[in-house]
Each structure stands twice: as C-alpha cells, then as structure tokens.
C-alpha cells in the first residue's frame, strides 16, 4: 500500500507533518554554515514550513498560486517550496544561472506571484526584470547580506520577517495551517518543473504529489534506502531530480538532506559528510576520476607503484565480475590487500566510504571510467529518467551494473518500445501534463496514454533498457546507414581532451563533428609542451592541438562502425554555452539550434573546404549580445569514395 492511498500522507507537506510527529528529533536537513553543520530536525523543519506558510498566507498567497525559488540548495528554499505546497500552491524552481529572457519567460508563463531568492545577487536579477513580471507581487530573500538598502522596496521582505508575520497570523487564526494542509490531495500539482528543452521555449511539466511520492517509494524500495541515511543536496533545485532524490525520498523514507556550504566546497563537504549515496552527472564522476589520477601522479614513486599495481588488479577483478567469470583465488587475495592499501583510502578521499549506492545519469559515462569506480568498490550504477516521468524510470540493480544499459524499470513502472524504436512509459510516475500547453501535452502521449520519452532505445535480452539517442535525432547517412549522433558524440567525449562534440551526418555522405576542447586538460597538455596560449580561442587554434584532437578522434574511430567514423572535424573557438542557447541548462546540446547557427560550417564540411568563416552571436551573462567573426580551420578529409560522389 502506497502512502498516497492514505489521506494523512497523500501530499509532501502531509508527510512532513507525519515525520515531525514520528521522528521529531531526528535530522531532516542540515546546512553547513560558518564551517559547522547546523541541523534542522523534522520538528524544526515542520515548524519552519508552518510559520513560513502562514507568513505567505498573511501576504495573500492562496491555493493555486505559484512560488519560485532561485538560489543554491538551502533549507530555507526547501521550506519555502514545501510551504507553498502546504497552502495548495505550486512551486516553480528556476535555475539561478538562467539569463534574463529565460527567467522572464518562465516566471510569466507560470504566473509566479512570489519569488524566494537566496541572496542579493538573485534579488537584483529579479528586481531588474520586475517591470516585465506582471504577476510578481513579493520577493523574499534569505541571506540578509547587502540587503539593508532594499527596505525602500515595499514588495521585498526578508525570510525571518515572513516567518515572524506567519507566527502573528497563526496566533490570530488557530487551525488555519492544519485546515489548508488537509485540503491537499495526492493529485494536486506539487511542482512545475520547466524543462530547458532541446527545442523552443521551456515547457512546464506539472508533477503531482502522487508522482513524487510513488517514485520515491519505488526507488527507496528497490535500492534499500533507509531512514537516517545522509544525502548531499548539491544538484540544482530547478532540476527535478533534486525534488525526487532530496525532497521526495527524504520525506517518504526519512533520510537527511545536507546542503553544502557553497558550490565551491562540495567536494570537501562530501568527504566530511561521507553520505550513504550520491547522485551525480557523468561530468562530476569524470572530475573525481581526474582528481584521483592527478593525485596519483603527484605521489612518491613507491606509492605510485603500489597504486598502479593494485589498480590493475582491480581492473582484472572487475572485468571478470562483469563477465560473470569466477575470480581466481590469487586475485581475490590481492584484491583484499588492495582494499586495505588503495581502494578503501581512495573511496575515503572521495567521500564515498559510506556510500552504499552511487548513481550516474543524464548522459552516458565512459565505460573505462564506469569500470574504474566499480573496480574500486564504489557501487556505481546507471539510472535513467525524464522530467515528465518524475526524473526516474529505470535503475541498474546492484549485481547487474554495466556501462551500456540503464537497468531495469523501477517497481510500478512499465516501459515498452514502439515500432519506431521510441521508449514509452506508463506508471504513477508519469506527469499530469505541461502547464497551459494542452496541445503539446496531447502530442506527448500515445493514443492509449503512454508517455513518449523521445528517446530511442531497446530492451536487451536480460530485460535491461538500453538508450541510444534522442529519437528525433536518429537519422540516416546518404547511403542509408542509420546514424545516431549522440552515440558518436558520447564516444568522442570520452576523450579527456574533448569537452563537447556535435556530430553531423543525417542525409550526408559521411560523419563530421564540431569539437569544443576541454580547456583544463588541453591547457595542461599545452603547458607540459611549453606551448604558450592566452585564451580558449587561442588554444583551440593551435595546429598542435588540432593534431592532438585528431589523434583522439582516430582512437575513437577505431571503436566505431566504419560508417559512423568521424571523417572531418573542426575545433570551435568558443565553448558551447547555455547562455547562447546552444545547450540546455543541464548541458545537453540543442542540436537543431546548433545546426542552424553553424549552417555555414556544415556546408563547408561537405563541400571539402579547408576553412570556414563563421559569424557567431554570443551572449554575455547580463544578456548583452555581441557578434564574433572568425575563420576556423577544418581538419580531415572526406573519404575517397564519397569525395568522388561529391565531385
């Protein structure tokens, strides 16, 4: 029986009230402040939510209104979201690095009336857009720093002021909060999560309490999440995964959400905390691996030798395990020694010593990287989800982790693949629809009510779901060979020197790619070779760098089927950026947009030119735009056969 079936536990704020009764003194939230972890118990958390909700009510916030939070993960921002839910309102978290136009669009489209901002920086951002935000009535800020002079704005309030107003309001209207809370039902919308979307304007996915509670139950059940487990809440609050993993699982199971001190201290806070699990995108796992490698290289020769030797043992053991072969006794012995000398200490350094389960999702993680973590005893698994499906659809069971699949569907969720290869989902985790976009909502569902994920994939013989690419991106080369750009790009991105790649080839004779180098690794590489450079642009123009990337591409090509091999490439002289609308805020390439923007480049790839003149519009953080004119060299040659065809 699910929690949503009982009227006392069918919404997230009702669960909070339950937790405050059941586990009143146990930790619900922690925040590192001035170097010390400060704890909010479930009772504290509930009291904060009650008072803030009453404060909102005193400001005229009523059922169905929308509240936005903008800022880093903070207990106050979580409490604000929960308060809105308790009053029957919706929370609409927004990305704090959004540019002005995106913010205006989302806040207006969602009809947001209250914004809770973390600090002065965010308040200033909203304030500068205030004239364009017709529904906005109140701005509430958490961090008082620098806010003294804002008292002249009657619509700006501090978080403690609202809490105080709430207490006064509560004294006047006893039972108001409880009455509002009890009006909530499982199918009320809890949150509108705007998906940055790889095409067009963001869409607001409406998630109900039922969605978020049932997915948390399914996840906790299949992954053995326990009360009192610690999780680090560091991923953006605007990403629905945070609502699922932090808020949903926290309330359902009673885990503790820990907010890091600042975005820069995440790695250190992680180590201090030693959480029970970690959810991280591949980028973060890759960074961790780099850290380990760099530290390894800096160690003394003896330590390096020990590390290298045991790393190889771990690699062999993991390979045997993943292929289901028995591990020879000798290797098992050395692996046990290695656990003591190398693997345990490395896990400790990474802050993963107590982590029972770790997850990577959103994009594939390179097979080598994936195996590295597993071989060192980190239970890293792939998960797959979509905003429209409450951020979770499938997850790999402990003993079936591998770098290729995304695992089995969670309990209560069904998946099928349609005849065009698109993955369809059905279950109580599937969202209610897009806010104010009925037409698009209808297109998102099949006639029999299954959610179209937009991902192309298949179910392998084990029953694992395998995702290939976005369904609409899968094309064909001009000779008819199927071509999945993301598949090629992911292989390219496994190179440490390549940060982003965009592959082209639909209706073309061969595959070509635009590459954005990784400034850090290529920069270090250049420094080791005494290659002077000034900027990203300068570095990406060096012929030596082009040669380096060329070699990396050749290595990658060796693992690709002949038709999918990258024949020509260029190095972009700026990074792909969400501010320029080339990527989504979750760092997915907006392929169509990029193809339009770089049409001249694509044309040059296939007409055999050696260089191309590109004029790019770039957007500064404050929204100003500038045009960058430059000439970019193209590398590689079209394969001989197709070259003749082209000629």
């Amino acid at each position: 029986m699910s929690l949503v079936d009982s009227p006392d536990t069918c919404t997230l704020p009702k669960l909070l009230a339950r937790n405050a009764r059941q586990w009143s003194t146990e930790p619900a939230l922690r925040e590192k402040n001035r170097g010390i972890w400060q704890t909010y118990s479930w009772a504290d958390y509930h009291a904060l939510v009650r008072d803030f909700a009453l404060g909102l009510a005193s400001l005229g916030f009523t059922r169905g209104e929308k509240l936005s939070v903008i800022g880093d993960n903070r207990p106050q921002l979580y409490a604000a979201q929960m308060s809105a839910s308790a009053l029957g309102g919706y929370s609409v978290p927004v990305y704090q690095d959004s540019i002005a136009a995106e913010l205006v669009y989302v806040l207006n489209h969602a009809e947001v009336s209250v914004v809770v901002a973390e600090d002065q920086e965010q308040v200033d951002k909203i304030l500068s857009l205030k004239d364009q935000l017709s529904n906005l009535r109140w701005i509430i800020y958490d961090d008082p720093r620098g806010m003294a002079s804002y008292a002249r704005y009657p619509f700006i309030k501090s978080f403690p002021d609202v809490v105080e107003a709430g207490r006064a309001f509560g004294r006047g209207q006893a039972g108001f909060f409880e009455a509002e809370l009890s009006k909530g039902g499982a199918d009320d919308v809890a949150m509108i999560a705007y998906t940055s979307g790889t095409t067009g304007n963001p869409k607001g996915a409406m998630l109900t309490h039922r969605n978020l509670i049932t997915i948390a139950e399914a996840f906790a059940q299949s992954e053995g999440i326990r009360r009192g487990d610690n999780w680090l809440s560091y991923l953006p609050m605007a990403w629905l995964g945070d609502a699922t993993f932090t808020v949903g699982v926290g309330l359902v199971v009673g885990t503790t959400a820990n907010c890091p001190e600042s975005p820069e201290t995440v790695q250190r806070d992680l180590r201090e905390l030693g959480p029970s699990g970690l959810v991280a995108p591949p980028r973060i796992w890759e960074n961790m691996l780099t850290t380990v490698q760099v530290k390894g290289d800096d160690a003394t020769p003896l330590k390096r030798w020990v590390y290298e030797r045991f790393r190889r043992i771990a690699e062999q053991v993991e390979l045997a395990r993943s292929e289901g072969r028995p591990v020879p006794a000798g290797q098992r012995f050395w692996y046990a020694i290695g656990e003591f000398l190398v693997y345990g200490p490395v896990r400790d350094q990474l802050g993963l010593r107590h982590a029972r389960t770790c997850y990577t999702g959103g994009a594939p993680l390179g097979a080598d990287n994936f195996r590295f973590f597993r071989s060192f005893g980190i239970n890293l698994k792939q998960v797959y989800g979509a905003t429209e499906a409450s951020a979770l659809i499938a997850c790999q069971p402990d003993r079936e982790a591998d770098p290729n699949s995304v695992g089995r569907t969670l309990p209560g969720i069904n998946v099928r693949v349609d005849d065009r290869g698109e993955v369809l989902v059905n279950g109580s985790n599937v969202f209610k629809g897009y806010f104010k976009q009925d037409e698009i909502t209808r297109e998102t569902f099949t006639s029999d009510g299954w959610l179209k994920t937009g991902d192309a994939g298949f179910v392998d013989p084990r029953g694992h779901l395998v995702i290939i690419d976005r369904a609409k991106d899968v094309g064909k080369l001009s000779d008819g060979t199927p071509f999945a750009p993301q598949f090629v790009e992911n292989k390219l991105k496994f190179s440490p020197y390549i940060r982003e790649a965009v592959a082209f080839g639909d209706n073309q004779p061969f595959v070509a790619a635009m590459i954005a180098i990784d400034m850090t690794t290529v920069g270090t590489w250049a420094e080791r070779r005494n290659l002077a450079y000034t900027s990203f642009m300068d570095l990406s123009r060096k012929p030596e760098v082009a040669q380096l990337v060329g070699e990396e591409i050749a290595k990658c090509n060796a693992t690709l089927p002949v038709a999918a091999r990258v024949q020509r490439f260029l190095l972009l002289n700026k990074e792909l950026d969400a501010d320029d609308a080339e990527m989504t805020r979750t760092r997915k390439v907006r392929r169509r947009f990029v193809a339009e923007k770089y049409a001249a480049v694509i044309e040059a790839f296939y007409s055999g030119k050696r260089e191309v003149e590109v004029s790019m519009e770039i957007t500064f953080e404050d929204g100003r735009k500038a045009t960058l004119e430059s000439i970019i060299a193209l590398h590689g040659d079209a394969p001989p056969v197709t070259a003749r065809q082209a000629a």
């Binding site: 001035r34 170097g35 010390i36 620098g146 002079s149 001190e261 600042s262 820069e264 201290t265």
Partner: protein
C-alpha cells in the same frame, strides 16, 4: 575648510580620523608636505594622486609605520602620532598593504586568526594547554573568523595555504585579516591593484559592504578612477606630497588644479 565640507556631507558626525599639517622628509626628499585631511565617521574617503604623490607615505604615518616630522594625527580625538604600529592597531586602525603581506606558509584561516591577535588575552601556558578560558577564547575568535570567511566568501579556501592562492584571492584574504582586527578605520592600499575587471568588481562590492554593513570607515588608495569615483564619499588629491584638492568625486573631477596635476601633466595621463 575640509571640516566644514565633510560635516555637511554626512550630518553632524565628528570626524573619526584627522590628519593635521603632517610632513615627512626622507633625507632631501619631501614625501609629504603639510597635508591635512579629515575622515568623517562611516564614510569611504579615497586618496588619489600620481605615482610618488605621497599616498602610501601618508598611510604609513597614519598606521604608525613612519613617524611624521611635523603635524598631528588623531583617532576619535586622541593623538596617535607617536604611537607604535601595534598600539595603533590595538586602538582600531587596520590596514592592508600594496604588496600583499600575508604569511604565505599559513592557511587562510590561520592568517585571519593572527588578525585577531590584538584581541587575544590568554597567556602562553593556558593557550598551550588549550584549557579553560583559553579554549573558550579560541572558539570565540574562530567564530569571528568564520563570520569573515562567510562575508568574503572564502569558505572553500579555509585550509589552503595563502602562498598557493591567486593574487586577487590573496588581496581578499588580506582584507579579511584586516577585518579580523575589528577595526574602526580600515586603510586599504591599492586593494584592486593588478586585478582583472571581475576581481575589481568583487573587491569594490566587498569594500562597500564593509562600509555599509559593518559600519567601518574606509580610507582607500586606488588608481582605478572608475572604482574611486563610484564608491567614495570624498576624494582627496595629492601631488608631489601636497594636497591639491578635495571634495566629492564630482567636485574633484571638475577641479582645474586636479585635472592639471593629476590627469593632465603626469606621464600616464588621461586614463580617467
């Protein structure tokens, strides 16, 4: 004359720091000659002037590193002209240096804790045993330092050796150490020198916050005219050791003597 002006600026507050007729010679070179200025409580006063105008010498006299040949410097009405630097620091004047002066082998936190030194009372023995009052005191001082770490957003660098930090960050740590002293007056010697635009903007923000949120009076030497004109309440202009102008940023920008001496004829010229 400056008294009348400055009083008009910010109500009737008495100046917190005054410098009257101060001169300093080094051998045959007159570094500062008969300079007077008043710093009203709670303001940001900038001292500008071409290289060699005597700005840093003036600051060194205020902080006690040099003893003036003539003239009087008072803090809150009490003369501090003849005090040693440590005594002046104990009375509430903190400073940063043009060429950063941190302990590069110590961590950011330790450098800040050193800034608390004037407030520490525990003796060698109790401190060594980390016992009783010494322990309580250490915790209280650490709490103040943590406040500054949060204020200057140094959380991720707490345990980093300052020697390994970038120039801009070291400047920020130096500001932090000066703040740790809990000064009434903060003397900043080119806090933005050698910084890029982003770092300058951050530092300007911190200086304003120090002034507004913590109510600390700031005396600033800075070459970046944009910053000076943006954040100062008053500007004093020196040239070849003499004061040649003073007033609000607007007044100073218009004063012919200032344009002539500072912007017109010096070598760098016209980068206002």
């Amino acid at each position: 004359m400056s008294a009348a002006e400055s009083l008009a600026d910010r109500g009737a507050a008495a100046p917190i720091l005054t410098v009257e007729g101060v001169s300093k010679k080094f051998g045959g070179v007159t570094a500062v000659q008969d300079v007077s200025l008043e710093v009203p409580r709670g303001t940001i006063v900038s001292v500008i002037g071409p290289n060699g105008a005597g700005k840093t010498s003036l600051l060194n006299m205020v902080s006690g590193f040099y003893r003036p040949d003539t003239g009087v410097i008072t803090l809150d009405g009490n003369a501090i002209t003849t005090l040693r630097p440590s005594q002046i620091a104990a009375r509430g004047i903190a400073r940063t240096f043009q060429n950063i002066a941190l302990f590069s082998g110590l961590t950011v936190l330790d450098n800040l804790m050193l800034g608390r030194h004037v407030h520490m009372r525990a003796g060698v023995l109790t401190s060594a045993l980390y016992w009783g009052p010494a322990r309580r005191e250490e915790i209280a001082h650490r709490a103040r330092c943590e406040e500054i770490i949060e204020f200057l957003k140094l959380q991720d660098l707490r345990k980093q050796q300052t020697g390994a930090l970038s120039y801009g960050l070291r400047k920020r740590v130096e500001l932090g150490r000066a703040l740790a002293l809990e000064p009434k007056v903060l003397l900043l010697d080119e806090p933005m020198g050698g910084m890029n635009q982003d770092e300058k903007e951050d530092m300007a923000r911190y200086v304003l916050d120090v002034n507004i949120e913590r109510g600390i009076t700031v005396v600033l030497i800075e070459h970046d005219m944009g910053v000076v004109m943006d954040i100062s309440d008053r500007v004093v202009v020196l040239d070849r050791g003499r004061r040649i102008g003073a007033g609000t940023p607007e007044e100073v920008q218009r004063a012919p003597a200032v344009i002539q001496a500072y912007l017109g004829t010096s070598k760098g010229s016209r980068q206002a």
